[in-house]
């Protein structure tokens, strides 16, 4: 069954959020969703770029009161 996990890296600077996502996505199962909570503006563009480059799926990306919520699905 697909799992959903939240990676809260608010307050961390680039490339911390991206590295945290990658460390967690390695351990996740295919089909699992990982939601990154980040206050780092650079990561809001870097994470979708990385997702596209390596072939995972960007489920959604939104910003609320300075916090980005980026949901990535492990595709392989």
């Amino acid at each position: 069954m697909a799992q959903k996990q939240v990676i809260d890296v608010r307050g961390a600077f680039c490339p911390g959020p991206l590295m945290e996502l990658i460390a967690n996505i390695k351990l996740a199962g295919v089909g699992d969703d990982l939601e990154v909570l980040s206050t780092d503006k650079g990561s809001a563009t870097d994470i979708p770029a990385w997702v596209k480059k390596v072939g995972h799926q960007l489920v959604s990306s939104s910003e609320d009161a300075g916090v980005w919520h980026i949901v990535v699905r492990k595709a392989k």
């Binding site: 307050g11 961390a12 600077f13 490339p15 911390g16 991206l18 590295m19 990658i22 480059k53 390596v54």
Partner: protein, 131 residues
């Protein structure tokens, strides 16, 4: 399948900003499908000792501000480049001789010491960055 693009990075600086940038390039490149080789020499090498833990000095204002903020440690980023991506961090054998260091004195995620000849042969068909 095509071979991944290669990126070679030479790090000689002992300044916080330059070590940080080298670590950022290495780690982001390594997790983005590149084959990364890092060559650590001169003032950078000492900061890869296992102990004593030492913080490189700031080169300018950015380094001073960066020290106050929750920025990933450059050593952690190099470790992540090796563990999460395709990266090798080679200590320079000449610099190790000059500082009388043994591989066991250095961080465990470093590769075996090599010389410039080997590094430059490997770097011949890659992007090259220096810090």
């Amino acid at each position: 399948m095509d071979a991944p693009p290669k990126i070679s990075i030479i790090v000689v600086s002992g300044s916080h900003e330059r070590l940080q940038m080298a670590a950022m390039v290495a780690s982001v490149a390594a997790v983005s499908g590149n084959q990364v080789s890092v060559f650590v020499s001169m003032n950078a090498l000492g900061y890869f000792r296992r102990s004593p833990e030492s913080t490189p000095p700031a080169e300018g204002e950015f380094g001073r501000v960066m020290a106050q903020k929750k920025v990933p440690k450059f050593k952690d980023l190099f470790a992540q480049a090796v563990e999460l991506g395709d990266a090798k961090v080679f200590p320079c054998s000449m610099a190790m001789d000059v500082l009388a260091l043994k591989p066991g004195d250095l961080e465990p995620y470093l590769a075996e010491p090599i010389g410039l000849t080997a590094f430059l042969i490997d770097a011949a068909d890659s992007q090259a960055w220096t810090f």
